[in-house]
Amino acid sequence: MKTDELLNDKVLCALSLFLVLVWAGAWRRLYTLPRLDTETAAATLLRIACGFLLAGASLDKLGDAGAFLGLIKECYFYVPAPLQPLAAVVIPWLEFFTGLCLISGFRWRGAALVFCVLMAAYTLAITWDVLHGIDCACGCFKTDSAERMTGWTVARDLLFFGDGFIVLTSPRTYLSGDQLNGQRAM
């Protein structure tokens, strides 16, 4: 089975939901792990999952800004025209570096904030398109994907936003690059 078949958005969603439940259980102190703060461990898993999600979603767009620009013009046409080329160039790299920061834990809280802002923007944009009956490819993971925007896409992005919000508001996470640099794990 190919990687992109294995890691389709439904699998990612299920994994994400599972991690949220793990985090929620830890938050309610339903279980403990020896030598580990279970809640922090769960938040760390969520942080890394969000990182892989975002970095993975950016890979297809990084080298093909032209295709991504076409998608923006067709599906997200309400982005002001002068900003569309800039958005097509900047957003994939912003996703990529944000994903790397979340995976590595370097400046992870700022990256979690960017993750939340991106997810909120995508959710609003897709909701607008769905409500207005715009029939478009989502372009969420691949620019040439046949996946259409539906209520499911909105729900999925809301779930991802929730993941990011949990990470953003977590007191601390493990495996943080900031800790290695001697900074306090925020």
């Binding site: 403990t32 030598r35 067709e74 097509a88 207005h132």
Partner: protein, 210 residues
């Protein structure tokens, strides 16, 4: 025996309960955004498939026929000697600039009577069946149909939905381009087209009248 929690060893910062972070994340996020933007623009400048960042409004009127008198309200620019020649297809990578509507979105507009439908298929196909109220504007002959249809659409801000055979059909795109070039500002395309409408069992009309 109670396990020692890491917080016992390394106490978490004060206020370790969940709360909205302070200003530091905003500073970090801004730094990340600025770095990514600079990197992206630099990468794009040197990348072989980089795109033009400066927005250029599309030149309009590339169907203008020099051999034909200008049609009021319609300004096509390139010569059209045959049906094929008058059917420009988007250049590779050129996006479809018109919003695409789903069947649900189209039906909603049909029920509300909030838009005008444009059937971009051949007149014979239009006569066999079309969406009630749709005007026929064969996409391969915009110079012929523009003077017939545009006088019926005096409001250039009115929402117009063009459709054809769905799938890879370009006729609705050609009709939409012709309208956009004539100054119509709210043109959309029903991607599924007539096959999807017919399959859904929605209302239809036959004959050469809308």
């Amino acid at each position: 025996m109670r396990h020692r929690r890491p917080s016992d060893i390394h106490p978490a910062p004060s206020g370790s309960t969940h709360s909205l972070p302070g200003r530091e994340p905003f500073r970090q996020a801004w730094g990340l955004f600025v770095f990514s933007s600079f990197f992206a623009v630099l990468f794009n400048a040197f990348y072989v498939d980089g795109i033009e960042l400066k927005h250029k409004p599309k030149p309009i009127g590339h169907w203008q026929s020099s051999s034909q008198p200008p049609i009021p309200g319609f300004n096509p620019s390139s010569p059209s000697t045959s049906a094929e020649a008058s059917t420009p297809t988007p250049l590779p990578g050129e996006p479809n600039p018109f919003p695409r509507l789903s069947l649900m979105g189209v039906k909603e507009r049909f029920d509300k009577k909030s838009c005008v439908f444009l059937d971009a298929r051949k007149p014979e196909e239009y006569e066999e069946g079309h969406i009630p109220g749709a005007l026929n504007f064969y996409g391969n002959e915009p110079e012929k149909y523009a003077p017939l249809v545009m006088p019926q659409l005096p409001d250039k801000t009115k929402e117009i939905v063009a459709y054809c055979h769905g799938g890879g059909c370009d006729l609705s795109l050609q009709a939409a381009k012709a309208l956009a070039e004539a100054g119509y500002t709210h043109v959309e395309i029903f991607g599924g087209g007539w096959p999807e409408w017919e399959k859904a069992g929605y209302p239809m009309t036959q004959g050469n009248q809308p």
